[in-house]
């Protein structure tokens, strides 16, 4: 029993402790801040605070009864804006939008907001609406409608400039400012857009018209092509029909045509038969009529020709006979004459033969003599020619020697001729010795004949250069003995 009581007490104490702890321990949720006031110590978060501390995101120990704990929501709030305002151009507009804002997360912002809105958190959008409405009027008053429509950056920038600082004072931050709608009672915006709309409409109508035109063109072209195709098809069909008709007609006419062809063949054959019959008849007539007539005519003609030939032959025979008789007579006379002539001729011939034989014999003798003479003359001439040739060869070989030889051979005659000049001289005195003798002798030789010029030259040359190896007739005059002997 006692154990049960003790256990009960302990349990109650534990429960009481847990309850007490639960009363004292407060936890700040993520979207709220705890603002704790009532104790001067532990002024955490605000160094020189106003006696309260701010706790976010964690738990803290609070003394119930001593300290007061308030919660400030950090959630998002929104304010619908509907502001009548006038633009820079004096055009009245109603701007509708929304502002999304919250309490700033930093401790300064939380402190500012806590001081201003802790008991009036429900009224926060209303306050913000007032602030924004006033600022929006002034902002819109500085803008034109075109700016507001086209330059949202400018609108938000100006809004931030005007309201940012204001909201900073309140510890709030603006997450988003959106202009939903700009109502335009005077229709300014609509009229502003009208030229563009008209232009767009015009372009649209132009495009539509162009498209219609193209479509119509395409349709008409298609129709034209269809008609063309139909025409071509009909032409082809007509052509084929014509071919079919032609073929059918040909087929229809085939029977009569073949019949006519057969008939034509028959006629041709009949004609051929008739021709053959006519030919046969002609042949018959030839054989029956013409050939006998021809034979008769031939017979008559042959007979006439034979008779004529017979008569001609008779006449010819007669003429021949006469001719032959005359010829025989003539032959007889001729024969007699011929015999006489032959006798005379034979005599003449015999005489001529005798004469000829005598002449021939004489001619042969004469010829033999002539030949012998000619042979001897020829031999002599040949010998002379040989001698001349040999002399010419010798002359060509050693001209002077040959001349000297010649001179030596004829020397006696020469000397004799030369000596003739001295024939009348009785006494001769030589004053110059052998040289004087030679000189005078040479002069005498010169006078002896013109043909001795050569000898004189030779002697002159002997006096200067006597030739060696040659028997010189001038050698004796050197010693001067030979001319004396001649005397």
């Amino acid at each position: 029993m006692a154990i049960g009581v003790v256990a009960g007490i302990v349990l109650a104490a534990i429960v009481a402790l847990i309850g007490l702890f639960k009363l004292m321990w407060r936890v700040a949720e993520p979207n709220e801040a705890l603002v704790i006031s009532g104790s001067t110590h532990k002024t955490e978060g605000l160094g020189q605070g106003m006696g309260f501390r701010i706790v976010t995101g964690r738990g803290t120990l609070v003394l119930p009864g001593v300290q007061a704990v308030r919660k400030l929501s950090l959630d998002l709030n929104e304010t619908q804006l509907s502001v009548d305002c006038v633009t820079h151009q004096g055009i009245p507009l109603r701007v509708k939008g929304v502002v999304i804002f919250k309490v700033g997360d930093d401790l300064v912002s939380i402190a500012n907001a806590a001081r201003r809105f802790l008991d009036q958190q429900k009224m926060m959008p209303e306050r913000v609406h007032i602030v924004f409405a006033g600022h929006l009027r002034s902002i819109v008053g500085g803008l034109t409608v075109e700016d507001m429509i086209r330059d949202r950056e400018k609108l938000t920038g100006q809004t931030r400039m005007a309201c940012g600082t204001e909201m900073e004072k309140l510890g709030l931050i603006v997450d988003s400012l959106q202009i939903h709608e700009i109502e335009d009672p005077t229709g300014y915006i609509k009229n502003l857009a009208m030229p563009h709309a008209a232009a767009v409409q015009r372009d649209a109508r132009i495009a539509q018209a162009e498209a219609n035109r193209l479509a119509t063109e395409a349709e008409q072209a298609a129709f034209a092509r269809m008609a063309e195709a139909t025409r071509d098809s009909e032409i082809l069909q007509a052509g084929y029909q014509a071919e079919r008709d032609k073929a059918a007609a040909t087929a229809r006419q085939a029977g009569p045509l073949s019949e006519a062809a057969a008939r034509q063949e028959v006629v041709v054959q009949e004609t051929r038969v008739a021709e053959l019959e006519a030919h046969r008849r002609e042949q018959q007539l030839q054989a029956d009529v013409r050939k006998p007539a021809d034979a008769a005519a031939y017979e008559t003609r042959t007979r006439a020709e034979a008779e004529r030939d017979a008569r001609i032959s008779a006449a010819q025979a007669k003429a021949r006979e006469t001719e032959l008789a005359a010829a025989a007579e003539a032959t007889r006379v001729t024969t007699a004459a011929t015999a006489d002539a032959q006798a005379v001729e034979a005599r003449g011939i015999a005489s001529a033969k005798a004469t000829r034989a005598t002449g021939e014999a004489e001619a042969a003798a004469t010829q033999a003599r002539g030949l012998a003479e000619a042979e001897s003359a020829k031999a002599k001439g040949l010998a002379e020619a040989e001698a001349i040739k040999a002399r010419a060869a010798a002359l060509a070989e050693n001209q002077e020697a040959v001349v000297a030889q010649q001179l030596a051979e004829n020397w006696p005659a020469i000397v004799e001729a030369g000596a003739g000049a001295f024939g009348n001289v009785e006494h001769m005195v030589l004053l110059n010795g052998a040289e004087g003798m030679s000189e005078m002798f040479a002069k005498a030789l010169t006078m002896g004949g013109t043909g001795l010029g050569v000898a004189r030259q030779l002697l002159a040359s002997m006096g200067q250069t006597p030739p060696s190896g040659t028997p010189s007739p001038a050698a004796p005059p050197v010693n001067g003995r030979i001319p004396i002997r001649e005397e």
Binding site: E44, D106, M161, T165, I173
Partner: protein, 76 residues
């Protein structure tokens, strides 16, 4: 949680421009912070140039609660 530290750490973070930053404008950058991404009103640190949307920027100065001064992270 170190919230004070986190606020101080804003300086040096990189972010992306989502609304043109420039002189006379109130721009907007989105920065990864506190496990999420938040946007801040942004002004240029210096000069006359505009920083176009999409440019990567570095946070140079943080003025609580929601204002930063930025400069382009990469020249050109």
């Amino acid at each position: 949680m170190g919230d004070t530290g986190a606020d101080a750490d804003m300086v040096g973070l990189t972010g992306r421009v989502t609304g043109t930053v420039g002189p006379g404008l109130v721009g907007e950058v989105i920065v990864r912070i506190r496990g999420g991404a938040e946007h801040f009103l942004a002004h240029p640190v210096s000069g006359t140039g505009r920083i176009a949307v999409g440019t990567v920027v570095t946070v140079v100065e943080y003025l609580p609660p929601r204002t930063v001064y930025v400069m382009a992270a990469y020249d050109n």
